[in-house]
């Protein structure tokens, strides 16, 4: 009841303040000039990124260096998480020991198999169409990370490890992704451009499909990096607590 009273007080305050504020809030009907520049130049114009998607072209071309460092922050956060749960060789072997078993009723398992296949298809199409339709590396990668989570929930994490996707492989895939991003950013320097320069170093079209220059490479590598990074973290998080207590020597 006390919670409900607090909620009603909050709602009344919000209503009164919004009645008061509504007279002075500006009706924003115009674009900021910078936004207009990006909209006009993303496909046409002199400073073009050759992509009709303004958001992706800002993320990976106009403000590419910003995103590069955000990827570095992502890398550091995942590395920090892996370091907090650090295991030595024997402990890692011990953590992998176990048999996959079905944890939920049969129909759920069947639907999950179909759903995992669908998620792989949907996430790949989100990531690789990023330069034409909404989507891109970040969105596709976070969609990809859901598929191993579903398998962990239904068949336990040992099923994932028996089929060859253990923590080390996930970290290797993620490193490949990050390396690809770095290489794609550095290639223009060798060809006489600036760092992360998109046009005219990279081809804007291949076989009639608009590629958006380097955007498609960035999207693909970021897709791998984000998906594999989250997968590695959740593989570590799903180790049973008793095993970890044994490793740390905590008795409770």
């Amino acid at each position: 009841m006390k919670r409900l009273a607090g909620l009603i007080i909050v709602l009344l305050i919000v209503l009164t303040v919004s009645c008061y504020v509504s007279r002075m809030v500006p009706p924003q009907k115009n674009l900021h000039p910078l936004g207009e520049f990006y909209l006009q130049n993303s496909y046409f114009g002199r400073y073009s990124a050759k992509s009709p998607e303004a958001v992706t072209s800002i993320v990976w071309d106009y403000r590419g260096v910003d995103t590069l460092f955000e990827t570095a922050v992502f890398f550091l956060a995942i590395i920090g998480s892996l370091t907090l749960f650090r295991l030595n060789k024997g402990q890692a072997e011990e953590a992998k020991r176990g048999e996959p078993k079905l944890e939920l009723p049969g129909p759920v398992a069947t639907v999950t198999k179909v759903t995992v296949a669908m998620i792989l298809a949907v996430s790949a199409s989100i990531a690789l169409h990023g330069q034409l339709t909404p989507g891109g590396g970040f969105q596709g990668g976070s969609a990809l990370a859901v598929a191993p989570l579903l398998i962990i929930a239904v068949y336990t994490k040992y099923a994932l490890e028996k089929n060859g996707l253990d923590k080390t492989r996930a970290i290797i895939i993620r490193s490949i992704g990050l390396l690809g991003i770095a290489l794609t950013a550095l290639v223009p320097l060798l060809l006489g451009g600036y760092i992360m320069q998109n046009q005219p170093i990279f081809p804007a079209k291949a076989l009639g499909v608009p590629l958006g220059g380097s955007l498609v490479f960035y999207n693909f590598f970021e897709y791998l990096a984000v998906g594999a990074g989250f997968t590695a973290v959740f593989l570590l998080l799903s180790i049973p607590e008793e095993k970890f207590r044994k490793f740390l020597g905590v008795r409770r």
Partner: protein, 92 residues
């Protein structure tokens, strides 16, 4: 006024919003956790359909993607809560 897509969509709007609010009411009141998760589940499928209808209303192709993903991800929440309730620790 012509009887077109916009008319259909405007008939459908209040129905879906009312259903959304009632599902939210059940999510608030739900005495147990499975009730609340069931309400969240229904709500997310309701919103996925609502998003598809809104894409017709705004006449934009690019907005339809949200519906596909929202319909897929609500399932994950179900499985995790079910696993947690049945076993205590997920994925072990």
């Amino acid at each position: 006024m012509q009887f077109g897509i916009l008319t259909v969509v405007e008939i459908a709007f209040p129905l879906y919003l009312a259903a959304f609010v009632i599902y939210a009411l059940r999510a608030v009141r739900g005495p147990t956790v499975p009730d609340m998760i069931l309400a969240v589940d229904c709500m997310s499928f309701d919103i996925a359909a609502f998003m598809a209808i809104l894409a017709l209303y705004f006449r934009s192709t690019y907005l339809i993607g949200g519906a596909v993903t929202l319909a897929l991800w609500a399932y994950l929440l179900d499985l995790y809560v079910a696993n947690h309730l049945a076993r205590g620790e997920v994925g072990a």
